[in-house]
């Protein structure tokens, strides 16, 4: 089947098998291997991407369902060599060990803090229920997400287009300074 899917700001026209999962389209057809596959029952969340601005598990979406959609993967978060605030927060707070769940965690976390202006620890723990990590015991993942939330302004208007869909650490710190009146 013919599909046209925009991934990380670039449109791809492909002829694919109807049963192709979005995650396989991303990994196999486009060679974007940052999105990982950790299970086959939609539990682990390693494959989380943004689809039309929402965090979705790309192992549970057929590529044909994404026809016409705009997808953002972990590869699109950093820009011009500068990390997204959430990426920075994950390394600053040691929110990862083996790194396998990390792209999905970060993609979920970005949407989580975006939808929770004043996010609490409880919000974070519940908000991550669809993302499994076996290494960290979640403690530092939670700290990382809280730090990421602190670093970027959740009230800022967010665009769905991946090119707009990011805030750099420097920008986050600028906004944080603004908010605190410094």
């Amino acid at each position: 089947m013919e599909v046209s899917i925009k991934v990380n700001g670039k449109s791809y026209e492909r002829d694919i098998e109807a049963r192709t999962l979005l995650v396989d389209f991303i990994r196999e057809d486009l060679g974007l291997t940052g999105t990982n596959v950790g299970c086959d029952t939609t539990q682990c969340g390693s494959c989380t991407v943004h689809m039309n601005g929402a965090a979705v598990k790309s192992c549970t979406v057929l590529a044909v369902q994404a026809d016409g959609a705009s997808i953002a993967t972990i590869e699109s978060l950093a820009s011009d060599g500068e990390l997204h605030a959430m990426q920075q927060a994950f390394t600053d707070k040691h929110g990862l060990q083996c790194g396998f769940c990390t792209p999905g965690m970060i993609m979920t976390a970005v949407k989580l803090v975006e939808s929770h202006p004043d996010i609490s620890e409880d919000d974070i723990r519940h908000g991550l229920e669809g993302n499994l990590c076996r290494c960290t015991g979640y403690e530092n993942v939670v700290r990382a997400v809280a730090e990421g939330a602190r670093l970027f302004d959740p009230h800022s208007p967010w665009e769905m287009e991946p090119a707009e869909h990011k805030i750099t650490l420097r920008e986050a710190e600028r906004r944080a300074r603004e908010r605190s009146g410094a």
Partner: protein
């Protein structure tokens, strides 16, 4: 170059993170090779059956199919049975053949029957469904204790009573201890089967170079060097023609500590089809085909005097090994379990009989903690039962029996000599952090209102940092346990460190760089740690048993010392000074008394690499290789405390607090150590509360997916409160002990005992793990029926 803060002891942000947070992790399944084909494994749906027919003709005609092979094909090509690399002496161990693809008979659900090679993974999978295999089913055994009974069916015809081995540890006068006891407590303790569930499923990519007769195999492995060694023994490819690479590995926890059938199948398939072949496990396959952990049933008795002095411990343990022996299977329930039954205590007499048992289940081997969690749970549970029996505070009982501080070795009844220890300060710190006395008062008040609040306390010691090679040989481990390192300075002063160990998430690319930076005065960022590629790294024995840092750091330090010596010689030559007048600090070689005259280590690296002017008798180049074999294991220790509240109406457990004070000696990177402890606690608490593999009596794994097997989510866990003491070991130059498994080892009994403490007013003493709400609710109901 001077540094304002020592790299050693700093929470340096991890160097390896850069690739993981940006989606550039180099996991095996991300790799491709030109012309690559895909492999899918057809697995047995029956736990025990004879294969009476095999017809792949339809599958062979399907789109994209390149080949279909079965066990006989592999055997004909010279691929032998999977190696068992650990046979414990004096245990009469049986090692029945474990063919990578079943020949004639399957012995567990998930046993590999055939492989399909096709252009795409989906085509291979489609074709696997079209293979017509006929089975004659046989009787099935799944329970490790029942399997030893005379009427149990046999997993291997040649292994009577399914008994793989009978191993005994015995020290002190056990009979006398029990005869002289004022009190004996007894319990049957089940350490249920767990499924490791590293987030990255296993994967293999094999490339065969027929002209050179060489294999390159990328694999999700904790042990590339061991895998190369073992594969050379059971495949037609000699060791020097095998290159094993474990690129980024997404967690292991022991489940990637084996030469697995799929590795050998992939090499075989690549040879057969003349193309690179990749296999990637699905999660469902992982539940069936990757090793499981624990699965012990033990009858345990503890003898004591009425004042709480422990006199002896006696146990009979049935360790379910599954259908076949994985690489390290037999060492786990013996050496790593029975020898640790003294825990953190003076127990003058210990005796355990361990029966290793074959069943029609997935092979069982090392899962995080590997033997020590089972031992620690046994000891800690018995201590709480003893405290109950004597109406003693469980902390008081533990304190009374703790091993006194020692700096020069302490021998326990099992024959182990612990390296160094000072257990009481960790206990005191944990009690203080938690506010133990106040918490007991609050518990009393809560109980008066009918609330079920419980506190669990564990004081533990564990064995890791495996270990002296001489001991490895003596206990039947089929290899050494030393480590190696090469420290190489490039001409520009940047450093490459090559190690034989294989970190797979624990952060040693950073930790090891910190050691080099600290010792040689270079920047952490200037050190590149190379690991997990047999072609690029010196021989080493892999990452498991919390050995990576304690053992490899010894080798790294050895190489560093050589470079300091060589650098001093070169600096003396360049500075026209006597060698004994040159000192080295913070990356600068200088003449004593005149530090302004000096050569940086980068100057020396350039001088040695160009070799325009070298002192007499000193070779060019600035690199050193060293090997290190530790003189003993290391024995980290600590105290953990958990607090829970049980809802009497629903049996639900509110996991409220967790305090952990651990001692792993001097800490290289506190942030990384805390991360290891936190992750470990989560896995151990999960055994107490949520996780358990469950088979039906036909050997079907009912908990065979992440929908059915409950690994913890973020919302399940409380915030962990961590403290530390630092007692250096004397078995390696930096004094460091392993920290990868302590959290898992200590937290299972801590959380379990907390729940049992909560239920104590109802008279509940035993519930099988995991403590699901249903089981707890039923136990509460049964207790109240009993008149409580």
């Amino acid at each position: 170059m001077t540094t304002t803060q020592r790299a050693f002891g700093s929470s340096v942000r991890r160097l390896e993170d850069a690739r993981f947070i940006t989606g550039q992790g180099r996991y095996t399944d991300n790799l491709t090779q030109p012309g690559m084909a895909h492999m899918v494994v057809l697995r047995s749906p029956y736990a025990h059956a004879d294969i009476t027919g095999f017809d792949a003709s339809e599958a062979l005609g399907m789109p994209g199919v390149v080949g279909v092979f079965n066990g006989q094909d592999m055997a004909d090509a010279g691929f032998g049975a999977m190696p068992c690399a650990w046979v414990v002496p004096d245990s009469d161990t049986k090692t029945p053949a474990y063919p990578p693809l079943a020949i004639g008979r399957v012995r567990f659900v998930g046993d590999a029957v055939a492989i399909v090679i096709a252009e795409t993974d989906a085509q291979a999978r489609d074709a696997s469904y079209a293979i017509d295999v006929t089975y004659d089913t046989l009787d099935v055994v799944v329970n490790g204790r029942e399997a030893t009974q005379d009427d149990a069916s046999l997993v291997h015809d040649e292994v009577a009573n399914n008994q793989c081995f009978h191993w005994t540890v015995s020290g002190g006068e056990v009979e006398a201890a029990f005869e002289n006891a004022d009190v004996v407590v007894a319990e049957t303790i089940v350490n249920q089967r767990l499924i490791p569930t590293a987030m990255e499923p296993r994967a293999v990519l094999a490339r065969w170079d027929s002209a050179m007769g060489e294999v390159t195999m990328w694999s999700t492995s904790q042990i590339p060097h061991i895998t190369r060694f073992l594969m050379s023994l059971v495949t037609p490819v000699p060791e020097h023609k095998i290159r094993v690479v474990a690129p980024d590995v997404g967690g292991g926890f022991g489940s990637k500590l084996a030469n697995y059938p799929e590795e050998n199948m992939s090499v075989f398939a690549a040879q057969q089809v003349g193309r690179p072949v990749k296999w990637t496990e699905t999660r469902s396959e992982n539940f069936l085909g990757t090793i499981h952990g624990r699965d012990h049933i033990a009858d345990v008795e503890l003898a004591a005097k009425s004042d709480g002095t422990v006199l002896g411990l006696r146990a009979q343990t049935w360790a379910n090994l599954g259908a076949y022996l994985s690489t390290a299977s037999t060492g786990v329930p013996t050496i790593l379990h029975g020898l640790m039954l003294s825990g953190a205590y003076n127990i003058p007499a210990i005796h355990e009989d361990v029966y290793g048992v074959f069943t029609n289940t997935t092979p069982v081997s090392a899962y995080r903690g590997a033997g020590r969690p089972e031992a620690t749970f046994m000891v800690e549970r018995m201590m709480d039962l003893l405290a109950n029996e004597l109406s003693m505070d469980p902390v008081e009982l533990r304190r009374k029996n703790l091993i006194e501080p020692f700096t020069d070795g302490h021998e326990v009844a099992t024959g182990l000599i612990y390296d160094t220890g000072n257990y009481e300060p960790a206990l005191d710190q944990a009690l203080k952090m938690y506010g133990y006395e106040e918490a007991r008062k609050q518990q009393t008040a809560a109980r008066a209102k009918g609330r079920l609040v419980g506190i669990g306390v564990t004081t533990y010691a564990e064995i890791c940092g495996l270990g002296p090679s001489e001991v490895a040989g003596a206990v039947g481990f089929g290899g050494g346990l030393w480590e190696s390192a090469i420290v190489r300075f490039h001409p520009t002063g940047k450093v490459q460190l090559m190690v034989g160990v294989s970190p797979h998430g624990q952060g040693e690319e950073t930790t090891f760089a910190q050691i080099v930076a600290d010792q040689l005065g270079v920047m952490v960022e200037d050190v590149d740690v190379v690991h997990s590629d047999t072609a690029l790294t010196p021989m080493g024995w892999g990452s498991y048993g919390s050995r990576t840092t304690p053992v490899a750091s010894g080798a790294i330090m050895g190489a560093i010392e050589q470079l300091k010596e060589k650098g001093t010689k070169i600096a003396a030559h360049l500075l026209e000074a006597a060698e004994e007048d040159v000192e080295f600090a913070d990356g600068l070689f200088s003449v004593k008394g005149s530090p302004e005259q000096g050569k940086t280590i980068q100057d020396i690296a350039l001088a040695a690499n160009t070799a325009w002017s070298m002192p007499d008798g000193v070779d060019p180049g600035f690199e050193a290789a060293a090997f290190f074999d530790p003189s003993n294991f290391v024995f980290p220790f600590g105290t953990h405390i958990a607090q829970v509240e049980v809802d009497p109406e629903t049996g639900e457990i509110d996991f409220q607090r967790y305090v952990a004070v651990d001692d792993c000696g001097p800490i290289i990177n506190p942030m990384i150590v805390e991360g290891q402890i936190q992750g470990g606690i989560a896995q151990g608490a999960a055994q107490a509360l949520w996780e358990g593999a469950h088979y039906d009596d036909q050997g079907n794994l009912l908990s065979g997916s992440l929908m059915d097997y409950a690994i913890p989510k973020a919302e399940f866990l409380p915030k962990f409160e961590l403290g530390k003491t630092e007692t250096p070991t004397d078995v390696n130059p930096l004094g460091v002990k392993g920290i990868g498994e302590t959290g898992t080892i200590a937290s299972t009994p801590t959380v379990y005992n907390a729940v049992m403490d909560a239920l104590a007013p109802l008279g509940v003493q035993q519930i099988d793990m995991p403590l699901t709400p249903e089981r707890v609710w039923r136990a509460i109901g049964d207790a109240s029926k009993g008149g409580k």
